[in-house]
């Protein structure tokens, strides 16, 4: 069954968008109505030439006795029609070129892209002037000139968007299905870039308006007796000192038309950006919540009744209590959405700002993790190893400067001391040629080596706790075994406590002393690594997880499909046992 929660994105109306649409509607109405009622005032030659403002002519008259206001209003229709035509030609042309080159063979595509690049390199107005000069004067040659000049930029943008969409699997699948090329464009490419294209079209409309007016202004565009805003400005220029008001109205009209198009474009962009309207949360101690477990003063890390809430108040972690003793490796295992990473990142103080963290208490040694701590203390007390070594390093910087960052900045070590200590740490975890590695860039090292280097860098500050968030998930199995061996050695030889987060039961049972099984933001079962390895588990969810895991050790005829949402027991606590089966009772390891 499909999920009932439909995450339909509703359209967000911003003030800018509303104003933009209102202004554009007014402009269109003027364009429609003014020529019907004002043509005579705007075009009939009268004897009242070059008059100032009066009740009959609000903005005065021009050299031929025509009403300036009426001319500006009537010119709206031609200007808008020309701008719209230009926009349509350049958008259609750009979209056609930008999408169809993705159907063409690679050689033709690259050739066309280079031509477009070269064309984009010229300022489009100069390009348009050149084309207009060749085509000759006139309204429609101006339209054509600017449309052609705008095509390359639009084609380039479309091609870039089409490039990223044509990488998606549904496009390559459609090719395998034998869907004809033009249909791939209409079914798969265009619908998925419609939103950015609309926004771009609004922008193109605004720039086109300016360019068309510029061409008319310098006399290449609209010719007498026709007139658009640019042409009116051109006529006004002659009398700029005697009749300054003559230039004002066309200028205002150009500004309003351009502004409304830009506002619509910006508004559409904001409306389609799903990240709008975020609220920010805070960290606080839970006030009314009862202490759900006895304070374990012996423990190195103690988390009591941790709750993490979204800005809307939806709990993601629902009262988690755990303790880690010195020298202990604790595993947090669960599926996505179980809250395991959120729990670990709350301890590290690294949750996104908009989430609210509450706990009865949360400490590492004497350090109260609910307070805003000195970043130096945090950085040297907790070592972090992230999931993907490929993205946790900055590709532009050398390995050495990234690995020694904490030592140099927080421990105030000299560059040389930090370097030497890091080289030793790398050598300790058996990375070959450590000096050379320090001078290399991340892409020169394999994923496993980067992850081991990351682990080494957390060790030089001698942290009291290492938090490893899925540290082997992105690695190959043989490399994973290597990295796990490294964690085991560090723990055995240096006695560093670890909080190890993983979705992989096999990894957790092999490495961890204690294992905490999480689901839906709650702890369901606490086990020892040995218990998990032996299959000695009590909670139905843990049992189901084990039954769902294929294994090379035995070939199961049917895997049990777990529905994580079926297991929604309340958290076990000493004070309030709640509606919990006896076997889900907290197991004191």
């Amino acid at each position: 069954m499909a999920e009932k929660t439909r995450t339909k994105r509703h359209f967000r109306w911003t003030t800018g968008l509303i104003i933009g649409i209102a202004l554009m509607t007014v402009m269109i109405l003027i364009g429609l109505l003014a020529p019907l009622f004002l043509t005579e005032a705007a075009e009939k030659l009268t004897a009242n030439a070059s008059q100032g403002p009066s009740s009959a002519h609000w903005l005065g008259t021009d050299d031929f006795g025509r009403d300036v206001l009426a001319r500006s209003l009537v010119a709206t229709r031609l200007t808008l029609v020309m701008t719209a035509a230009t926009t349509v030609i350049s958008v259609v042309g750009g979209v056609l070129i930008g999408t169809f080159i993705w159907l063409a063979p690679a050689k033709i595509r690259n050739a066309v892209l280079r031509v477009i690049d070269a064309a984009v390199a010229y300022p489009s107005l100069i390009f348009a002037l050149l084309i207009a000069a060749i085509l000759g004067q006139g309204a429609w040659s101006a339209v054509l000139a600017i449309a052609i000049a705008s095509i390359p930029a639009f084609a380039r943008l479309t091609a870039n968007m089409a490039a990223s969409i044509s990488q998606r699997n549904y496009v390559s699948t459609a090719r395998l299905l034998g869907v004809p090329g033009p249909r791939i464009i209409t079914r798969h490419l265009l619908p998925n870039m419609a939103e950015p294209l609309l926004v771009l079209t609004a922008t193109v409309f605004a720039t086109t308006l300016i360019e068309l007016s510029s061409l008319s202004f310098i006399g290449l565009g609209v010719q007498n007796p026709e007139y658009d805003f640019g042409r009116l400005l051109n006529e006004a220029l002659v009398n700029i000192y005697s009749q300054p008001l003559q230039a004002v109205m066309p200028s205002i009209m150009i500004t309003i038309a351009g502004l409304s198009a830009m506002l619509i474009g910006d508004g559409l962009a904001a409306a389609t950006d799903p990240r709008g309207g975020r609220k920010f949360g805070s960290v606080k101690a839970a006030s009314e919540l009862p202490a759900s477990m006895r304070a374990d003063r012996e423990a190195l890390v103690e988390v009591d009744n941790l709750t993490v809430l979204t800005p809307n108040g939806v709990p993601l972690v629902k009262g988690v209590s755990l303790s880690i003793h010195a020298g202990e490796v604790v595993g947090l295992v669960g599926e996505s959405g179980s809250g395991k990473s959120l729990t670990a990142m709350s301890i590290a103080g690294l949750l996104p700002e908009e989430l609210t963290v509450r706990a009865h208490s949360m400490r590492l040694g004497e350090l109260d993790l609910l307070k805003r701590n000195d970043p130096r203390t945090l950085a040297t007390s907790i070592g972090l190893v992230y999931q993907d070594p490929g993205t946790s390093f900055n590709p532009a910087l050398r390995i050495g400067s990234q690995l020694t960052e904490v030592s140099r900045i927080h421990l105030k070590q000299s560059g040389k001391t930090a370097f030497n200590r890091m080289v030793k740490a790398l050598a300790d975890i058996r990375i070959t040629q450590p000096e050379l590695r320090m001078k290399q860039h991340p892409h020169e090292l394999s994923g496993g080596m980067l992850q081991r280097a990351m682990i080494a860098s957390t060790l030089v500050t001698d942290p009291r706790l290492i938090i490893a968030d899925e540290p082997t998930t992105a690695l190959d199995v043989t490399v994973q075994a290597d990295v796990l061996r490294q964690f085991r050695t560090i723990n055995r030889e240096m006695g560093t406590a670890m909080l190890f987060i993983s979705h992989d039961i096999g990894v957790v049972q092999a490495l961890c002393d204690k294992v905490i099984v999480m689901n839906g933001g709650k702890i369901l079962e606490r086990l020892t690594g040995a218990q998990l390895a032996a299959g000695d588990v009590k909670h139905p969810y843990t049992k189901a997880l084990l039954a769902a895991t294929p294994s090379i050790a035995e070939r199961k005829t049917e895997l049990v499909a777990v529905r994580a949402e079926d297991f929604t027991f309340d958290e076990i606590s000493d004070d309030a046992p709640g509606p919990v089966q006896p076997e889900t009772e907290r197991l004191q390891p």
């Binding site: 999920e3 043989t478 075994a481 050695t489 092999a510 390895a533 994580a564």
Partner: protein, 273 residues
């Protein structure tokens, strides 16, 4: 297809396949002479680590990667000797299920439209193929009314099932599953693996199942091929390869699986006081 095609011929035969990317000094040979056959109704598991060439092999078979040497035979016909029309027909006989269930469905098309496109790539009218669509939806245990819905209304596992249905709806001779469970949670993975097992028996599927996860490949395959740096290190019956690996790399790979019999990462720390 061609007259040489016989029912006795394997569904897929790959002979000394080489794939090279780039040319001149920058040329990188990604597949170095890979040979394999898949008989009707069998599943070949292809395992290997990153860079072993397993995805390159999959793409070469479906024609998304150019082949620099060797040959691919589908149902006894050499793909390289086909006319473009025959090749177009052949492409529909070999369908690939992609890895990522989120980018494999077009977010702007309903499930019905997506499946209709698989049934009829040109017209793609969901109303004309309503019965077939609900048949394939029932095969993957989804109600017929989901045809009206869009991909964002479905979970990762459901999307992956829809992607499987789309591949099946073409009526292919061979299905290539490229890491289809690696983006999924354990419980969802179980659901997909169960579906694949059921379809293998019900529809007598012939399949190449590619994965880096040795546990998963072990679960679904009849035969296993181990790839390492573009070469076939070992190929054979699933139980014999896992039980008695001949090549040291296969041994190392199997011993690296956490929870497996040969897995060892060293002694635990002495008990915490």
């Amino acid at each position: 297809m061609t007259s040489t095609a016989t029912s006795a011929a394997p569904v897929l035969e790959v002979r000394d396949l080489e794939v090279t990317f780039g040319s001149g000094h920058a040329a990188a040979k990604v597949l170095k002479g890979v040979s394999a056959t898949i008989e009707r109704g069998k599943t070949l598991g292809i395992v290997g680590e990153s860079g072993s060439g397993k995805s390159t092999l999959a793409k070469a078979i479906v024609g998304l990667n150019p082949v620099s040497a060797g040959s691919i035979w589908v149902n006894g016909a050499d793909v390289s000797r086909m006319t473009s029309g025959q090749r177009r027909a052949m492409r529909r006989e070999v369908q690939m299920i992609p890895q990522d269930p989120y980018s494999s469905l077009n977010p702007r098309r309903t499930i019905g439209q997506t499946l209709a496109e698989a049934i009829d790539p040109v017209k793609s009218n969901p109303r004309a193929h309503r019965e077939k669509i609900s048949y394939w939806l029932s095969t993957i245990r989804l109600d017929a009314d989901v045809a009206e819905r869009y991909p964002h209304e479905f979970s990762g596992g459901q999307r992956q099932r829809i992607a499987i249905a789309r591949a099946l709806a073409v009526g292919p001779k061979l299905i290539i599953a490229d890491e289809i469970t690696s983006a999924l949670d354990l419980s969802v993975q179980a659901e997909i693996l169960n579906l694949i097992s059921r379809l293998r028996t019900e529809l007598d599927l012939t399949m190449a199942f590619i994965s880096h996860d040795l546990d998963v490949v072990h679960h679904v395959s009849d035969e296993i091929m181990v790839l390492f740096h573009g070469e076939v290190v070992e190929i054979g019956d699933v139980d014999s390869v896992y039980g008695h690996p001949k090549h040291p790399y296969t041994r190392k790979l199997i011993d690296s699986v956490p929870g497996g019999p040969g897995f060892d990462i060293g002694e635990r720390r002495a008990a915490v006081v």
